[in-house]
């Protein structure tokens, strides 16, 4: 369970990323967050595992405050949260396999991991995760020699290999072809259903959102403007989530050129 209590986030340069968010995400939900580019989707997601410190409020993971957590405690909460990054965040100079294995480090002793001594099991787990996103054959390639989509898939494999209880995915399929997209989304859905893993995904594709989500959250300018089961997310609602902004923009005289 993830709970946002009056959460706000202001960036050091004054931009308000989140404004007074209150949300409760139950275990096993498959949530898709939609919103305009710059609406605060990534900010929201990254607040959950505290990659961003929030400015106000509190976030609870399974009834424990991650906002207040420290040290080992914080690390253990994070270990149980897998994250797929919008910008992949791979170590470009390391091999694909090493990047994926890095998702496993929190399970082992420091000494073991710094010498790269992962149990055979972990290596298999990593290779399997790569296999699921169709790039097992690139396991020993340096990550900077991959195409954009391949890099994204490594980032997905890393999160899968982590065997977390919550998965946060920031536009996990942006650079993928329809086929791989389907495969990845199916996979996320499958682990969500079979293992009851809470999944929160930022997505730009309305149809995919509808297809996979159990609940949709709409963000606009850092505020929750829609929150409901997928059935309630009608075309009309989507237009609201995005359109509100559009109208404002048009009022200010932009976008005229685009028609």
């Amino acid at each position: 369970m993830i709970e946002f209590r009056n959460v706000s986030k202001t960036y050091p340069n004054g931009v308000k990323g989140l404004k007074n968010i209150n949300l409760t995400i139950e275990k096993g939900e498959f949530i898709v967050i939609v919103g305009l580019s710059g609406a605060g989707k990534s900010t929201l997601l990254r607040s959950i595992n505290r990659l961003h410190e929030i400015s106000e409020g509190e976030i609870m993971i399974d009834n424990a405050s991650i906002t207040a957590a420290k040290g080992k405690n914080l690390r253990m909460i994070r270990r149980d949260i897998g994250m797929i990054f919008q910008s992949f965040n791979l170590v470009k100079r390391s091999s694909v396999l090493r990047n994926v294995l890095s998702g496993r480090v929190a399970y082992h002793s420091t000494l073991r991991t710094i010498f790269g001594l992962f149990p055979k099991q972990d290596v298999n787990l990593a290779l399997n995760a790569l296999d699921r996103v169709n790039i097992a054959d690139k396991a020993y390639t340096r990550s900077d020699q991959l195409s954009g989509g391949q890099q994204q898939r490594v980032s997905i494999a890393r999160a899968l290999a982590q065997e977390a209880k919550i998965i946060l995915a920031d536009e996990p399929v942006a650079s993928l072809d329809p086929l791989t997209t389907k495969q990845v989304m199916d996979d996320l859905k499958k682990i969500n259903q079979e293992l009851g893993i809470t999944t929160v995904v930022n997505l730009h594709f309305i149809d995919i959102a509808r297809q996979y989500a159990t609940r949709i959250i709409g963000l606009n300018a850092g505020e929750v403007v829609f929150d409901g089961p997928v059935e309630e997310a009608t075309d009309e609602k989507f237009r609201e989530i995005y359109g509100q902004q559009l109208e404002e923009e048009q009022k200010r005289g932009i976008g005229a050129g685009a028609e």
Binding site: R78, F85, L90, S102, V105, A106, T110, T113, R252, G253
Partner: protein, 270 residues
Amino acid sequence: MSQLSTQTVAKPTGRGKRMFNRVLILVILAAIYIWAFAGVETFEIKETAGQISKAILNGIIQPDWDFVPGAEGLIYGLIDTLAISILGTFISAVLTIPFGFWAATRRDKSGFFVTGIGRFVLSFIRVFPEVVLAIIFIKAVGPGSFAGVLALGLHSIGMLGKLFAEEVEAIDHGPKEALIATGANRLQVLVYSVLPQVLPGFISYTLYRFELNVRGASILGIIGAGGIGAPLIFALQSRNWPRVGVILLGIILLVSLIDLISGYFRKKIV
């Protein structure tokens, strides 16, 4: 393309303040330079300039080949220097790694205190004169190569530490975030996301330091360590330019060789 409606473009924020800052920096810099140049005496070229520099260059381009062989000649001297530098550089590189991380600013923490101490220690090592360091080690282990190794090893930490720390500060924070998100502890984050990024820099600084140690003759000359330091210094003192020439040639060859090898390594790693 439609005419731009002015209100949509954000006024550059804080531009006034930034302008002020810039002007301030410029004024301060100007003041410093005026002060600095004011103390410089007039510029003049001596009449003996041509004669002496010609004599020096003439000597240097006629190397004293007799100095090359022999137990106290160039080749053995270079080998000694090389051995001392290898060991000294290795010691400093290993010791510097924790220093580098220690002194690097952590963006996520207001760790000025911690970082500040790290920087202070490095600065202190840097200002500590080589001679004094040399004396300290001579008192412990006697004059000779080992004292040279220790003095070089410790002295190099000051410079390497600073460079390492800056390299650590300049990394891409994305991969670091990814590791933090998996629940990795600090050391694991370091090994899996920071180290691969900074390693090329570390290696290249270490090789640079190695090269500096090879040609930094003074400390080895002081320490009675064998090596090429003392002969070079004496040759310079007695204006024995052919001797200087042959020693320089040896050092240049050695340094170029190191440069070639280090270039090869860097290409492999970067």
